[in-house]
Each structure stands twice: as structure tokens, then as C-alpha cells.
């Protein structure tokens, strides 16, 4: 650590902290969708990363289309792209739930294998449609550039935008879960499925909506993803293991736990990344998570659930 002055170290800490926040946002955006699917239905969706990729490609297509046919629209297309990503990913998720997930509710391990198969097929579909090369959406001008509060600190605007989007999305999930009729039935189903059914909640319908919503959020995550990185057929699957660890580490049924664990993992990884090499940082972080999980299998924040 020698060789850096105190001021530089402070800037490093801020910058790495900000990088950590970016990673935190990506992890959280993906984990939120996964957390409501896994936490509420106990379904492992290995194709979740591919729903993120759907969102990213949707944004890419809209960006190229608007750049070519309607340049005046290009400034605002991104908001439209977020909505479109959500709608498309959610619609596909709804279909997947009906055809693939529903018949397998009582066999979670088989769901895992089936959705893995789905992810392979989707990856190949992306590759055939968009090519194996990574593509990137052209960002509107207002997303480019960076803010420089001091000489050594350089904070990109797109990173801040992603952060804002994450906050909005998290808030809307919290509102949906705790302030809406749907949220009420979701929470009831999570806590006690039989009882929820007995008081007249259509738990299958709740499952369907939840799955579609989770996939939709993954789509939005994908749209956000295009602002900080390029999109390839397998970019979603790169994050899937990390995301699952985030969800499990946070405690499967707890939203706050998911947020806390995404924050912890992202910060730990990006801070160690600066001082060690990337791979060692990742190994250390993941190992620490696994060891903690071995000591405390229920995760950071556990919800009391009747199984």
C-alpha cells in the first residue's frame, strides 16, 4: 500500500467505493428479481441472466433504430427502452412460467436443470440473431461524460444514472410488496402457502405474476447494464452465480437482506480488487461468502417461514 499519499488513498477509496457501488447496482438489480422469484416460490431460475440479456438487447435495438430512423427521439429513447425491456422480459417470463416452471413446482432441483437448458437455448438464440460479437447501445449525450468534484476523483454520469435507476426500482419493489394488494398476497403465500390458498388467494396466479415481474426486473437491469458495458450473448450468465450467492447470502425471503448482501459483496470485491488482482479478489470474496454461509446457512437476515 506504500507509495500513495494520504490524499491519493482517499481518492482511491472514493473511486473504488464508487466502482463498488456500480457493481452493487448491477448485482442488486439482478438479485431483486431473483429474490422475489426464489424467495417467494422457491424456484431456481438459472435463465435469469438471459432475461437481463433480453433487456440489454432490447435497449440496443431501440437505440440503433432510433439513431437511424428518428434522431430527434434518440435523446429520450432510453426511458422508452427501460419500459420496453420490462414489458418484453416480463411477457417472455410469463410464458416460461406457464410452459416450463409450473409443472415442476414440487421438484426444485429439476426446475434448476430445466431453466439451465432454457438459458442455453436463449444464448444460442441471441447468438444467431445478434451475432457472437458484443454490441453496445449508443448512449444519448446526457448520459456521457463525468463529474469531477476534485482533481483525482472522476465519477461517470452513466454510473450515477444506473444508481438512480436502482434506487427507483428498489423503492418500487418495496412499495409493491408492502403497500399493494398483490404484495399482500405474495407475502401471505411466502409465509404459508396452504393457508393463503385457504383464505382465497389464488396462489398459482400470484406465482405467475411474481415470476413475470421478477423477469421484468431482470429486463430493466439489462437496460441499465447497457449504459456501463457492452452486451454479448453470454453477458447475463456471467453474473448468475454471483447473483444467486447474493440472494442466498442475504437470506432468501428477505428483501433487506438481499440489499445488504449485494452491498457487502460488491464493496468487498471492488475494494480488494484494487490491491490484489481481480481473480484473487473474486476468489476471496466468494470464499468468504461460502464460509459465512456454512456457519450461518439461513443467510444474513432470515424470515420466519413455515415450511
Amino acid at each position: 500500500m506504500g507509495g500513495y499519499s494520504l490524499g491519493e488513498l482517499k481518492s482511491i477509496l472514493v473511486m473504488q467505493g464508487f466502482n463498488g457501488l456500480s457493481l452493487f447496482c448491477v448485482l442488486l438489480l439482478m438479485a431483486l428479481g431473483l429474490a422475489i422469484i426464489f424467495g417467494q416460490m422457491g424456484v431456481i431460475n438459472m435463465a435469469h441472466g438471459e432475461f437481463l440479456t433480453i433487456g440489454a438487447y432490447t435497449t440496443y435495438v431501440l437505440s440503433t433504430a432510433s439513431a437511424r430512423y428518428a434522431p430527434w427521439f434518440h435523446t429520450y429513447y432510453f426511458f422508452f427502452a427501460v419500459a420496453a425491456s420490462f414489458a418484453i422480459a416480463a411477457a417472455i417470463g410469463y410464458g416460461v412460467e406457464i410452459f416450463l416452471i409450473r409443472p415442476l413446482y414440487r421438484r426444485p432441483l429439476d426446475t434448476l436443470l430445466a431453466t439451465w437448458g432454457l438459458s442455453l437455448i436463449m444464448q444460442q438464440a441471441f447468438r444467431s440473431t445478434f451475432g457472437a460479437k458484443e454490441v453496445s447501445a449508443t448512449l444519448p449525450d446526457w448520459l456521457m461524460g463525468s463529474v469531477k468534484p476534485t482533481e483525482n476523483i472522476d465519477i461517470p454520469i452513466n454510473g450515477m444514472f444506473v444508481m438512480g435507476l436502482t434506487i427507483v426500482l428498489t423503492a418500487s419493489i418495496v412499495l409493491l410488496l408492502y403497500r399493494s394488494r398483490w404484495g399482500l398476497s405474495v407475502r401471505a403465500t411466502t409465509q404459508n402457502r396452504e393457508m393463503a390458498g385457504a383464505v382465497g388467494i389464488d396462489t398459482r396466479k400470484v406465482d405467475r405474476l411474481t415470476f413475470a415481474l421478477g423477469c421484468g426486473f431482470a429486463g430493466v437491469a439489462g437496460a441499465a447494464f447497457t449504459t456501463i458495458g457492452s452486451t454479448g450473448p453470454t453477458s447475463g450468465s456471467l453474473y448468475i452465480v454471483d447473483t444467486f450467492l447474493v440472494v442466498v447470502f442475504g437470506g432468501a425471503q428477505s428483501l433487506i437482506g438481499t440489499i445488504a448482501s449485494a452491498f457487502t459483496i460488491a464493496q468487498a470485491q471492488s475494494t480488494t480488487e484494487f490491491f490484489l488482482t481481480g481473480s484473487v479478489a473474486k476468489v476471496l470474496t466468494l470464499s468468504a461468502v461460502i464460509i459465512i454461509l456454512m456457519l450461518r446457512p439461513q443467510g444474513l437476515m432470515a424470515l420466519k417461514v413455515r415450511r
Binding site: 426446475t111 430445466a114 439451465w116 437455448i121 452465480v241 442466498v248 484473487v280 456454512m294
Partner: protein, 400 residues
């Protein structure tokens, strides 16, 4: 659907004993005939080497049949144990291949070439014991077993199971492959450990040596099948199935469920490790591409396609999936991934009991029909019969 699987699984090998045991022995006999006689007689050295390579994956599939098919523990990290076994073997072979004379052009002669490329000047401490063949042969099963024991005890004693266990084993596979790729100087990085030449002076690269290794591998594989059959036949095997279907009830009956789980997980790890070591010996290298998430989950499909409860089926499944993988990725590279994905979905939704299940429901009846027609044909009656419906419907159905 779940009822069907569990119900059939419970019956398998447990209730209709003698006939079932005879059928299983027959199946093993047919497989032995294929592996020991048909493949070596018909295939050229290159193709035979490929079959030998596939058969090393079958060890992993066997382990998965035991711990997933019968025990209900899905490990998505079996590649870790396959890889560790393979690396233990590869480290010994690499040290033998890099004696000071043949590595004289390196800046530090006597260490493996990739260490020299990574500016290492002496052998890392954990490599040193691998100069001894006895130690390496011991390490092949011991290192993976130790890891499996730690993971198993830590998880199962705390009653972590099901999907949590699957996710954590998957993360372990990710960690190990990142670690191997990241520590190039110690492990050879992405390329793995390559250029393995001799085993105690015996050149592994000749066709003759490969042929012998193929048979050694096949013998070990049948040893593994026998071991698996024996384990499933003991009380422990019954406990495994009982535990998979109603864990709580087994626990309340006074059994320590965790110990049974740890045992079967370690056994599966040991089998995978043997497969990994045989892979290294036959193919001549080991690399992280057999350790990570994707190979580990593909190994699950080998077992699933074969029939997750059938030991012999696992071998057929491994052969079939790998054969089609080689074939399709050569001829139609775009199609392979889709096919693989469809296989994952199909094996879960359409034929959850895999090839073994298909044989039970269709194959045996078909074989019986063929046998009957052959019998008629041989006795000379076949020609006189006017061509009509191919076989009476009653023959098509399996005997009750």
C-alpha cells in the same frame, strides 16, 4: 409426475428383487460386452481414445447416480472433484516430464515449463510431494475426498440441502476454476498442465499404451459400478432412497441423516476423482475447462440422460451425450447448444427416468417382440406367415 418418479424409484431394486437383480446383471453384461469387446475390435485408436475419454466422465455420472439419483443431493460441483483428481495425477506426470535434462533450455531447469514462463525459480511447496508416485496415487482420491468431507460436514450437519447445496457447490466450482486460471505460475492457468509424457518411464503417448489404459479404465469403471451396486444393496442404500423421499421420517426413526449424506457425497467425489485421474492419463493433459460451472452441470446431464437412478444407464447416458456432442459440434456447431438445452428440458419434463426409464417402458417390450419374431423366423415358420400386423398387441406390453 413427482409421484411417478419417486414411486418407480422406490420399486427399483427394492421390492421385486430376484428378477430385477438378474436384469441388472444382464444390463451390466451387455455393457461389458460393448466396452471390452465391441469398441476395441471395431474402433480405430483415435475413436477408441475418444470412447476412453467419455468413459472417464462416466465415473462422475456414477457418483451422481448415487448421490443425486438415490440420495437426492444435487451437486453442481462434481467437476471440482474430477479436476482435483486429474490435477493430482497431472502434477506427478508433469514433474516426471520436466526433469533437468529435458528442461535444460529453461532459466531454471527441472521445474515445469509454465512455472519457468511465469518467472518462478523454484517448485512451490505443495508441488513437492507429487514427485512420489505413491503419494500422487494416494492424493488422487484423498484430496477430493477431504474437500468433499469438509463441504459435506459443514453443509449437511447444518441441514443445508436441496437447492442451497446445489448453488453453493456451483459457487465452489466457480471459485476453483477462477483460482486455477488466476494462479498461472502454480497451475498452468487456462491451458492447464500439458505435455505429459511418461509414467515411471512408460511412454503414455503410444497407441499401445493408450489401449492398455483404455482397458484399465474400463476395469476400474466396472469396479465402480460393482461398488455402487453393493452400496445400494446395503442398508445404507435403502436409507439413501428413504432419505430422498421422506427425510424427516428417516430422521425421526433415529438415523443420523447427515452422516449418510456426507458418506455418499464423499463417495461420489472419490469416483469423480478416479475418473479425472484416468482422464489425465489417457488424454495427456488437465485443464480448468473440466472444473468450472459449465462442465460440472453438463456432467449432471450425463447422469440424467442415462436415468438418474440407474448405474448402467449413467454410462450409456455419458457415451450418448458425448458422442452427440462431438458429432453435432463438428457438423452443426450452432445446433449443439440448442440441442443440449432441449436435452436438459426434455430429461426433466418428458423422460425423467432417462434412457433406463425408456428401456423399461418401451425397449424391453420391443426386445421381447424382436426375440419372438426371430425365434419364429429361425424355426422356419416365419416365411409361411402372411405379412400382417407386425406383432400381436399383447406382446408389445411388458409382462406385469
Amino acid at each position: 409426475m413427482s409421484q411417478a418418479i419417486n414411486g418407480a424409484g422406490g420399486v427399483d431394486g427394492a421390492t421385486n428383487g430376484a428378477a430385477n437383480a438378474r436384469r441388472q446383471l444382464m444390463a451390466i453384461g451387455v455393457l461389458a460386452f460393448l466396452v471390452f469387446l465391441v469398441f476395441p475390435a471395431l474402433l480405430d485408436p483415435f475413436r477408441l481414445g475418444m470412447v476412453g475419454k467419455y468413459l472417464t466422465y462416466a465415473f462422475v455420472a456414477l457418483g451422481l447416480v448415487l448421490c443425486w439419483g438415490h440420495g437426492g443431493i444435487l451437486s453442481l460441483g462434481q467437476g471440482v472433484f474430477f479436476g482435483l483428481g486429474g490435477y493430482c495425477m497431472a502434477m506427478f506426470l508433469k514433474l516426471e516430464a520436466s526433469d533437468p535434462i529435458s528442461t535444460a533450455i529453461q532459466s531454471t531447469p527441472g521445474i515445469p515449463d509454465f512455472m519457468d514462463w511465469n518467472q518462478l525459480t523454484q517448485l512451490p511447496l505443495f508441488w513437492r510431494p507429487f514427485r512420489s508416485l505413491a503419494f500422487s496415487l494416494l492424493a488422487v482420491p484423498a484430496v477430493p475426498c477431504l474437500l468433499a468431507l469438509i463441504i459435506g460436514v459443514a453443509m449437511f450437519k447444518r441441514r443445508v440441502g436441496g437447492v442451497y447445496f446445489a448453488i453453493i457447490t456451483q459457487a465452489i466450482a466457480a471459485i476453483l476454476s477462477i483460482l486455477i486460471i488466476g494462479r498461472q505460475g502454480w497451475t498452468g492457468g487456462v491451458n492447464g498442465i500439458t505435455d505429459l509424457k511418461t509414467l515411471h518411464g512408460w511412454d503414455l503417448r503410444t497407441d499401445h499404451a493408450r489401449r492398455i489404459l483404455y482397458f484399465v479404465n474400463a476395469l476400474l469403471l466396472f469396479g465402480a459400478i460393482a461398488l455402487g451396486r453393493w452400496v445400494l444393496g446395503t442398508k445404507l442404500g435403502r436409507l439413501l432412497v428413504a432419505m430422498r423421499d421422506k427425510e424427516e421420517r428417516v430422521r425421526f426413526s433415529g438415523y443420523d441423516v447427515a452422516n449418510v449424506k456426507v458418506f455418499v457425497f464423499v463417495l461420489a467425489a472419490a469416483l469423480s476423482a478416479v475418473g479425472g485421474a484416468m482422464f489425465t492419463l489417457q488424454v495427456g493433459f488437465m485443464s480448468p475447462s473440466f472444473v468450472g460451472i459449465v462442465p460440472s452441470i453438463e456432467m449432471v446431464v450425463f447422469a440424467a440422460v442415462g436415468g438418474r437412478e440407474s448405474l448402467v444407464g449413467a454410462v450409456y447416458g455419458t457415451l450418448l451425450v458425448n458422442w452427440s456432442k462431438t458429432y453435432f459440434s463438428e457438423k452443426f456447431p450452432q445446433l449443439w447448444l440448442v440441442l443440449m438445452g432441449a436435452l436438459f428440458i426434455g430429461v426433466v419434463k418428458v423422460f425423467p427416468r432417462g434412457l433406463a426409464g425408456l428401456y423399461e417402458s418401451h425397449g424391453r417390450a420391443w426386445l421381447a417382440a424382436v426375440r419372438e419374431r426371430l425365434g419364429r423366423l429361425l424355426s422356419g415358420e416365419g416365411r409361411r406367415i402372411t405379412p400382417g400386423p407386425p406383432a400381436p398387441a399383447s406382446v408389445e406390453r411388458p409382462e406385469p
